[in-house]
């Protein structure tokens, strides 16, 4: 019963921002499509921009979940467990809705770009499906693209939610150590240190790690499984962190 109440609130609030986001995406797409018609002589490939923006949106939604939803739910007598359950279930529903809507939109755009301009419109999921299954049945291909987009969105939302909640429960000292220290270590200190050691050791390790984690290099199935497992890990982590959340006096 409580989860229904929490879902009503989170669902409505998320729908408001998702509506604005979708409208902006549609307007941008219409703008770029018009531009491509005007410069119809040009040739090229438009790729990844839109689906990356949805993934970033999903990440930000997760990152801001604490300030947007948690306090209000605590105000209205919702427990930490139900709060987490509700946020996670709304993220899953939103990821399903977004992946269906945007993959279908990409399909329409691909056809439209193909008909009216020389520009080939493609997306991250279309790239993957095209690379691994070039002769796949069209309907199955669309379903696979929806699945890939869904897993990516869920992963981005969950990593955002876990990061936002972690940021909330840490004190100032640990916030600096984790949110400034770790990126500085990974992106500045280690690359410089390993550069002196030569052989691109760190770059190779980093790229290898990314391949291992996301599995994109190997197969779509591997990639889907990796992303699903990572999403579940971050889901579990956010549940753990949610149980520690406290409102300041």
């Amino acid at each position: 019963m409580s989860i229904k109440k929490a879902n009503y609130f989170i669902g409505r609030e998320t729908f408001k921002s998702a509506k604005i986001f979708t409208l902006i995406i549609l307007l941008l797409t219409a703008f770029f499509f018009t531009i491509s018609l005007i410069f119809s002589d040009s040739e090229g490939t438009v790729t990844n921009g839109l689906d990356m923006s949805i993934i970033i949106y999903s990440f930000i939604l997760g990152l801001t979940a604490y300030s947007s939803y948690v306090k209000m739910l605590f105000q209205n007598g919702i427990s930490r467990k139900t709060t987490w359950l509700s946020i996670t279930s709304v993220f899953i529903m939103l990821s399903i809705a977004f992946s269906v809507i945007f993959v279908l939109l990409f399909e329409i755009l691909t056809v439209l770009f193909g008909l009216y301009s020389n520009i080939i419109f493609t997306s991250f999921s279309a790239d993957l499906v095209g690379r691994f299954f070039p002769n796949m049945n069209y309907i199955l291909g669309v379903l696979l693209k929806i699945l890939i987009t869904f897993v990516c969105l869920l992963f981005a939302g969950e990593i955002g939610f876990a990061t936002g909640t972690l940021f909330k429960i840490l004190n100032k000292k640990w916030k600096i150590i984790i949110f400034a220290g770790v990126p500085a270590l990974l992106l500045v200190v280690f690359p410089i240190f390993f550069a002196f050691m030569g052989n691109h050791l760190y770059s190779r390790f980093f790229i290898g790690l990314m391949h291992f984690l996301f599995g994109v290099k190997f197969s779509i199935a591997r990639s889907l499984i990796s992303l699903s497992i990572l999403s579940l890990i971050f889901m579990f982590l956010s549940r753990l962190l949610m149980s520690k959340v406290q409102i300041d006096d």
């Binding site: 409580s2 409505r12 209000m72 605590f74 105000q75 209205n76 007598g77 427990s79 409102i247 006096d249």
Partner: protein
Amino acid sequence: MSKDIQICNINKIYNKKAALSNISTTIKSGTITGFLGRNGAGKTTLMNIICGRRIANSGNITIDNEKILENDNLLGQIYMTSPDNMFPKSTKVKDIFRYTEKFYDNYDKEYAERLIKRFHLDINKHSDKLSTGFQSILKLICCLASNAEYMIFDEPVLGLDANNRDDFYKLLIEKYMELDNTIILSTHIISEIETLIEEIIVIDEGKILLQESVEELMKSGYQVSGSISDVEKYIADKDILSKTTIGGLMSASIMGQREDKPENLDFSNIKLQDLFIKLTNEREDR
């Protein structure tokens, strides 16, 4: 079935300092209890632990032997207003009322609408764009209209003018008479709530200094007023809490039972604020 709130050995530590030390008490159902204490005494921490917003390091709080923490059923019977704005900043006031209606099964929509008109609250504004006073009004309307079994008010009159404060106290009493629910009230304006509260819990340095019914507490002292010389003569051998002089008149708060009643002096009930100052200063002196 007991609807009392049982607080059992609650400890809370902030930055290695005890905010609450082994607090145990019972908040009787169907009473208005005042949480009094100086700044940083631990009142807000205790209230936040009661409604599950904070987690105690040890101890537990129960209603009818059921822990409140992480219990949606019990948490759904509590509404706490606090000085902190818990509402989403970008949400309009009218939407906050809509959500509160969904969260609380006994929410009284018509009552909320009446109060919105009475306090001239602009429901089309975003909650963070309201002044401090109107933010307090928004929280109070939500709480009163929720018809929650347990209402907790932490500094409820923050930023309210005298008229609105008076209105709020009247509404609170009306609601209490209607629901016979449990109300916890914490404010630094003690003089305004002394006629409202039935039980008093004084918290100081994370410990309960005193818990008593206001009626009993009022019997522990009295106030005397009259000409300076008459009052000075009368209080010479008494335990004085405080005294004030205005022009040629003096009034003094005295601890203990009244034995004689000279005709040239006026006697009245002791003020809760004087008792509170005496209690908390005594602890400081020790």
